[in-house]
Symmetry: C2
Subunit: 487 residues, 2 copies
Amino acid sequence: MHALENLRSRMAELSDLAAIEMLAGWDQLVMMPAEGAAARAQQLAMLARLTHELATAEEIGAWLGEIDAAGNGAGLDELDRDIVRLAHRDWERARRVPEELAVERARAHADGQESWRLARANDDFAAFAPALARNVELARAYGDCVAEEGESRYEALLGDYDYGLRTEELRRVFGALAQALPPLVAEARVRSPRRVLEVPVGAQQAAVASTLRRLGVDEASWRVDVSAHPFTAWLGRGDSRLTTRYGDGEVESLLSSLHEYGHALYERQIDPALDRTNLGGGTSMSIHESQSKLWENHVARSPAFAEVLAAELGAGGFAVSAPELHAALVGVEPSAVRVSADPLTYPLHIVVRFELELALIGGDLAVRDLPAAWREQMRRLLGVEVSSDALGCLQDVHWGAGSFGYFPSYALGCLIAAQLWEALQLELGPREEDLRRGEVAPIQRWLGERVHRHGRRLDTIPLVEHATGHALQIEPFLRYVSPLAES
Amino acid sequence: MHALENLRSRMAELSDLAAIEMLAGWDQLVMMPAEGAAARAQQLAMLARLTHELATAEEIGAWLGEIDAAGNGAGLDELDRDIVRLAHRDWERARRVPEELAVERARAHADGQESWRLARANDDFAAFAPALARNVELARAYGDCVAEEGESRYEALLGDYDYGLRTEELRRVFGALAQALPPLVAEARVRSPRRVLEVPVGAQQAAVASTLRRLGVDEASWRVDVSAHPFTAWLGRGDSRLTTRYGDGEVESLLSSLHEYGHALYERQIDPALDRTNLGGGTSMSIHESQSKLWENHVARSPAFAEVLAAELGAGGFAVSAPELHAALVGVEPSAVRVSADPLTYPLHIVVRFELELALIGGDLAVRDLPAAWREQMRRLLGVEVSSDALGCLQDVHWGAGSFGYFPSYALGCLIAAQLWEALQLELGPREEDLRRGEVAPIQRWLGERVHRHGRRLDTIPLVEHATGHALQIEPFLRYVSPLAES
């Protein structure tokens, strides 16, 4: 069928273009000299414009119409039916955005990232405020365009990261966390206090490299680099790139590299039949984050895997016992910084951001008032005094890159990871023995089968149900963190 | 005028797209894990297809027609007139290439580079032959499409690198070099024999870094990396990237990094008014190569600058006198490898390649016969016995990347560099004193004014005449190399 062929060829083109955009973004954050920023912003804007043109073209509507009209006569197999279903959804969403706005957003996001980078380095919120205000303004305009009947502007933004989520559901879940976690934090900071390990950078680097190698990170199809904010890029089959950062004299690099590994593994284990289709990516940011959190919280932070990590640090010249390392990896102490937060306080950092971005997008908070509002929220939920904007509202790149509605996925990821981990152990049995030996192949396989291979064929909530047999729950996460308040 | 605005906006888009293609190519050779090759080849093919579509679109013809019809009424300034002139030329050339062929070439070039990389590593020409044969076949088809009235297929290929060059002129110039150089080589290999300096890699790295820093290579707008074959990428104003290679226990890295610096400086000093137009790049490969050869042959290989380089090597822990270093940088010995050839035998390596590619494209030489023909030519022109294909016809990436008609520019670059260097010294006075102190600003300025700023506004031969007051000559080059046969 000609229409289906055209549709699939367009999807392949868009998939290639997305990979190239990701390359340009990776390079910007990892390799590009600073003065290349202006040219790169124009290049990214051009790619966004081309992508928008190709993704919203009239002819896609015509092909879809032709396929729909043929009905059963089109003879679509199951895969084609999903390709067509998602093509409908994506095309209709994209068609609601004027090309001008798409181009403006891409440019503002590139400028915003560069502005954020400098502002953060100089702890200068005022220098970042205009770029942030522009991003807020464009996000509001974008949300208004994209919102479906009965959907709020913020839900429309959420939909770019987690299709089908509702603000009301987030309020409920995050409200429950905001209730349940602070009492646990109060106990845990006494019973499982944070212990600082001063690990030399060289030992961290050696342990990160050898631990990742154990998990299958080879030079033939991976890169591991350093960037200000750790992230992962997947530039096509056989080209996964994760970044980490060192130098805090801490063990954060071990956690963040396993975190990023989880993201990369997800994309690598998607069914190759979905390559270069519109289904060949992670289905949502929540599911993506559940994959990174599973490796960070349930593998790297387990007492069993601490034996492996301690051995690798030892080989790198830093002697530490497994229990001592484990205590440092799970120790609880409310602090200002999200990415280095302990597993118990982490979701509260997200609640802060959720409430603030809801207010920014809703028009209830002005950009100039953000630093004060941030400090206030941190005080209320975490009891933390924020000492500088660099360690406050400038700590994350997301808003600078125009990503509003993204943060909730970080907390949902924690919940889903815990729920998947319980389901996995129910089926495979406890993982302690394996993890003690660094054996992760059964985990990789279970995740590949239950979560990864589906790509975008299942949305967040249906995927959770398919993988675990249950709707989204917060109890597995509470069961995971409770021992910290008891030991 | 609306048509002119549309034309300029399309040119900006094509310029951004070219920068992104260059990024994808740079990344492929410098950063990409090997198993990413298949996906990257598809991505590059997609970019080539989009570029071809945008560069050959009907509407460009309509805009040009509208502008032409308006005549003087269009009120074009001098810059616009050049933009329109080059847009006509490029559009008409590109329109002669069917989209299918453009896409096939991009894919074959990406596959060919990867195949070449592996074949060279394993010294296995047979593994590379199919990819090369495919590239030859596509180059022939391409040349046939592009050739203008009265132009040969090979001249059409040349035109992609050096518009306006004629095969007959190349035969004349290269014939004269093939006559004049071998007797000089025979003398020079006795009087200025090659002296091998065993420079540790660490000292090379330190000297390359500090020498480049003297020339203005800072971290804010440059990158210096390592790749199998040194090259330069310019990804936009403020983002110049050169690569070099170390490890031969030799001084090649000093020469090749100054060589690549010359390429990068050319692009950096183009008039910013030409940014994101169709004029904002180097005008031809010959002129580009003249810029790299000027820094390699006339700066790095001068007795005066040897004092700077010797001091930098000394600071890097390798003690050497300036005369000793200079002798190592200019010592003559016919050898198998082009990129490490001395300045006197270098053009003969190009004559070898010119004659072989002329035969491949003309259909007078089959790919399977290339290794033997290569050995025969090397014996005849350089008196060298080639010991392996890796050091023979597999040494360069160009044919693997589908670049036929490119090699001549390397020899023309040597000639033009010598001619520019004589003109520069005639005007500024001898450079010895300055070079001894590492002072290159007057050279940078003269090149910027006479050569760089024009971008594509002047083609190869008119630019040489504009900059030196003379047509292309071989005598300045012969005057440059003659002392090697006399000292």
